[in-house]
């Protein structure tokens, strides 16, 4: 009774490990089960497939390198979408913002390749961030001042970005003595250092931008939960009336959040252009922007969650291609199916098992408190 009174009105907290480890794990297992069935149907061995997937994602140094390289992009776009969510905005435009970020990086690397790397690095970051932010600014401004629905405007800006990039790569930046819509390669002096240049590991596209991603994640956490600016963004996102009551300007924060979002998305350009392709190319954003939405939501808009979700996606991308590579009957489509199923189960159906698990946990906890009291 006494115990009851203390607890009254205050829900018994379900500990983190249940919420953030046990339940997601069970969801993942469920997803893999269904995927296994799919693979069975197309007449292959699910166990082997799973093994190949895991091995392909983490089994050997290259694999890890590639996985982390993909993860990097997902962290950037995941954080981008998440900060917008914290401000109550749904940014579908990460794709276009990433493309513009890449453009910024490309322009720096193409035009200042005389400069030493230690100047190029910050310049490229600045360019990626500012180009991405600029591309996000217009939809943000329209949302804040004119109430134009940001979901539409950002979708439209993805298309516009694609057109712009194609135009630039076909008409303006195209390599004069090349034939495909690509810029000339950027000078090696401007390349982002690879991990395999620094550590002793096999050649992979994994590069310095992975560290950027980790640092930005930390920064994100600090900004959102430990600064007054993050506080304001969250207030606006949760309750605009309360914001007005507290004298917090919605439009200012909407624009701020979206520009940060665009800047984060822009960093994909650093990883892809300065880090890997070393020239401006078409569609280097390859859907990372859209996947970022799922990453952010599955990561509950928290950097740690986002990192885990990003890692999951990275593993799926890398392990997936390994799967397509190693198993003849498995082609790129089936890999996509598996990825979709995992998003479905660990994202959309995440609550399917939760009530049962929590109830079970509570029963145990109750039993304990009764013994105690």
């Amino acid at each position: 009774m006494a115990g009851e009174q203390v607890k009254f009105g205050a829900p018994l907290k379900i500990p983190g490990w249940v919420n953030y480890a046990l339940i997601p794990f069970i969801n993942l297992v469920a997803a893999l089960l269904i995927s296994g069935i799919v693979i069975l149907i197309i007449g292959d061995n699910p166990i082997e497939a799973l093994h190949v997937l895991l091995y392909g994602a983490f089994g050997y140094p290259e694999a890890v390198g590639y996985t982390l390289y993909y993860t990097t992009n997902f962290i950037f776009t995941g954080l981008a979408v998440a900060i917008a969510f914290h401000c109550g905005l749904f940014n579908i435009g990460a794709e276009g913002q990433a493309a513009l970020g890449g453009l910024g990086v490309g322009l720096i690397c193409l035009n200042f390749d005389g400069l030493p790397l230690w100047i190029i690095l910050p310049l490229a970051m600045l360019a990626a961030a500012s180009f991405g932010a600029a591309w996000a600014y217009i939809p943000a401004y329209l949302q804040a001042k004119r109430g134009s629905h940001i979901v539409i405007t950002t979708i439209m800006f993805n298309f516009i970005a694609a057109s712009l990039m194609t135009y630039l790569l076909v008409e303006v930046l195209i390599d004069p003595n090349g034939q495909s819509p690509e810029s000339r390669p950027i000078a090696e002096t401007t390349w982002l250092p690879y991990f395999h240049d620094i550590l002793s590991m096999p050649q992979t596209p994994l590069n310095l931008s992975f560290l950027y991603a980790l640092i930005l994640s930390a920064g994100f956490y600090f900004l959102i939960w430990h600064t007054r600016w993050g506080y304001e963004i969250r207030v606006v996102g949760q309750n605009e009336t309360a914001a007005r009551y507290a004298g917090i300007s919605s439009s200012k924060n909407i624009i701020l959040a979206m520009m940060i979002s665009g800047a984060l998305a822009g960093f994909v350009g650093i990883n892809e252009i300065q880090g890997v392709h070393h020239r401006l190319i078409l569609d280097f954003t390859g859907g990372y922007g859209f996947a970022g939405i799922a990453v952010a939501l599955m990561g509950r808009n928290h950097p740690i969650g986002i990192f885990v979700a990003a890692l999951l996606f990275g593993a799926l991308y890398q392990g997936g291609s390994e799967l397509a590579f190693e198993m003849k009957s498995v082609n790129k489509e089936i890999v996509i199916v598996i990825q979709g199923l995992i998003i479905l189960f660990s994202g959309a159906l995440e609550h399917m098992f939760r009530p049962k698990i929590e109830a079970a946990y509570r029963r145990l906890a109750r039993a304990r408190t009764v013994e105690a009291g």
Binding site: V170, S180, E272, V276, F284, K332
Partner: protein, 305 residues
Amino acid sequence: EDFKPAIVFDMGGKSDKSFNEAAFNGVEEFKKDTGIDYLEYEVTKVSEREQATERMARKGADIVVAIGFAQAAAVEKAAKAHPDTKFTIIDMVVDLPNVQSVVFREEQGSFLVGIAAAMASKTGKVGFIGGMDIPLIRKFALGYKEGVLYANPNAEVIENMTGTTPAAWNDPTKGSELAKSQFDRGADVIFAAAGGTGMGVLQSAADENKLAIGVDSNQDHLHPGTMLTSMLKRVDVAVYNAMMSAKDGTWKPGVQVLGLKEDGVGFSVDQWNKGVLTEDMIEAMNKAKADIIADKIKVTNYMDK
């Protein structure tokens, strides 16, 4: 003996009914004749290109055939990393000692089908529908245009590009709309160089009972009766030869330019377009072909402009 060939298809996938599929037919042919199986991979993401070629090399493939200009950078990297693996890239030039670059004179083939189009057109207006506005497609367009004007100096060519995102190569409905709008504007023959989008073009030609020209593979069988012809780009032959020569040791690095002379490009004459493609069209095309080979006709290569 253990000869291991490998092939890397590009985004469209090995069954895109045109470019990659042609390559696929090539390896299948090779497999049939030699009984040698091959490693294959379909690229789905930009970043996979490098990974794929690199992997093939590391798996000990004797020759890696990369399909499509977009793979150049990847091949360059892999070739540098694996100097004693043979690489063949289609549609692009990579200048390395262990790389064989196969490029086609699409403009020549396009020129010929342009002639056919001009001759088949009653309205004096013909159309061109490309996937994305990129140099390779412009190469097709330019050759086609020159061919049309060669056969009918005051003919008009209506030109459309589908889009700017990768979806542009996979949007048959958009394709058929573009075709319809060109028909509305008076065109009665359309040449489609737009991958899957082309399906829509050929379809609405069939619907409106106008004429269409296929690309890369022979697409005449899709709509017998309304297919004027297909501009063949013998990627299959190129792939087949690359693998064969590698097998019997006659493989040579350097640039291979496959034009009309080499039968690398051409046009289709078969049971499906019999009657549609008339004798005198075929005659005119063959004559032009001879003239081009004999350098009597200069067809501009967009890339050289």
